[in-house]
Amino acid sequence: MKLSSFTDCIIKNNAIFKQMLGLCPTLAVTTTLINGLGMGFATTFVLVCSNTVVSSVKRFIPAKVRIPAYIVIIASFVTVVDLFMNAYTHELHKVLGLFIPLIVVNCIVLGRAESFASKNGVLDSLLDGLGNGLGFTLALCVLASVREVLGSGSLLGFSITGGVVPPVILFVLPPGAFIALGFLMAGYNWLRRRTEV
């Protein structure tokens, strides 16, 4: 796999800003940066594992039952992540707990399994999973930073505005998620257009 296709997964074909996949967890968990990081890394781990496994067993899976087979593989990894997060990062799990099982139905994961891992080699699939996962994490972090700074006046829990500027509560609420994502996406497209011309 060429390096360029790996970086393409992160920026050019970014799962959220470009493909607009997996928006449900994106909008739901990005109230603080630490949530975004946690969700991003959990999804990246699942993506890397499921892509690797799907790609290595693709020869044995008949085409007609491939979707249920992928879902079982993905769901198993998600449950493993869920258990280990609960045991070792209990505080983070208390916040993200509700959204971890939902990684199973995150379209990025099934999307990469179906459109990439089932057609490419193990190493390429692993890198593809890693790239897409990092792209997802990056997008979550950008969105979460914007929302935490504007909505709570802090970043990673540390106060930034020092209470001088009142926080705009709207940004930690669901409508704020849509508004922030909309502006970020506009910015992303604007930058892309400028760099391409």
């Binding site: 899976i61 198993s76 493993v80 258990l83 609960n86 045991a87 926080p167 930690v172």
Partner: protein
């Protein structure tokens, strides 16, 4: 055709068996740590609502028909009681509080252990500024937000969350009062 169905089922069956084994192993690997993490969480909650104690309140508990009341002892004497109570009427669902009481039937402190209230609005029920409103109150008093004719100040933008906390506290107080009366 028939052969194919057999093959599909075998492949799927094999995948699920392998997955189940991995899951069972992971569960076994993590279950003790998860149990301990949940217990530590709960103990931290108890610690924040009870006066200084030197026992393990979760093993020194009175189990009544309706609830488990945790006893805090210091030097052998009972210095506090705590109970967990739940209200289903939160804005985001269940709100769970632990209320700690002193032997003279007054509230020592309360803490919100679990909730799914809106960040930035309803989640202020966790703040000390709100939970301290209950401290020192009598166990026999009824607690309600100002809008409902009580004297608990709800904060701007949210009435439902504090109202649910009041309900949970009232439930807890009843349980605590019964146990304190019985043990006296």
């Amino acid at each position: 055709m028939k052969n194919n169905i057999l093959r599909y089922s075998l492949v799927l069956g094999l995948i699920t068996i392998i997955s189940a084994s991995i899951l069972a192993y992971s569960y076994d690997l993590t279950k003790d740590r998860i149990k301990e993490a949940i217990r530590q969480d709960f103990l931290a909650g108890l610690k924040s609502v009870l006066p200084d104690f030197d026992n393990q309140p979760d093993s020194d508990a009175i189990i009544t028909d309706n609830a488990t009341v945790y006893l805090a002892k210091n030097g052998g004497a009972v210095v506090g009681y705590a109970v967990e109570a739940v209200s289903m009427k939160g804005y985001g669902g269940e709100i769970s509080v632990i209320v700690g009481a002193k032997p003279d039937a007054t509230i020592y402190r309360i803490t919100v252990v679990r909730h799914t209230e809106t960040p930035g609005l309803g989640d202020k029920i966790k703040a000390a500024a709100f939970t301290s409103l209950f401290s020192g109150g009598s166990l026999t008093g009824k607690y309600a937000v100002k809008r409902d004719g009580g004297d608990i100040d709800s904060f701007s933008g949210a009435t439902i969350s504090p109202r649910a906390v009041c309900e949970a506290v009232n439930n807890a107080n009843k349980l605590l009062y019964e146990v304190i009366c019985e043990t006296k």
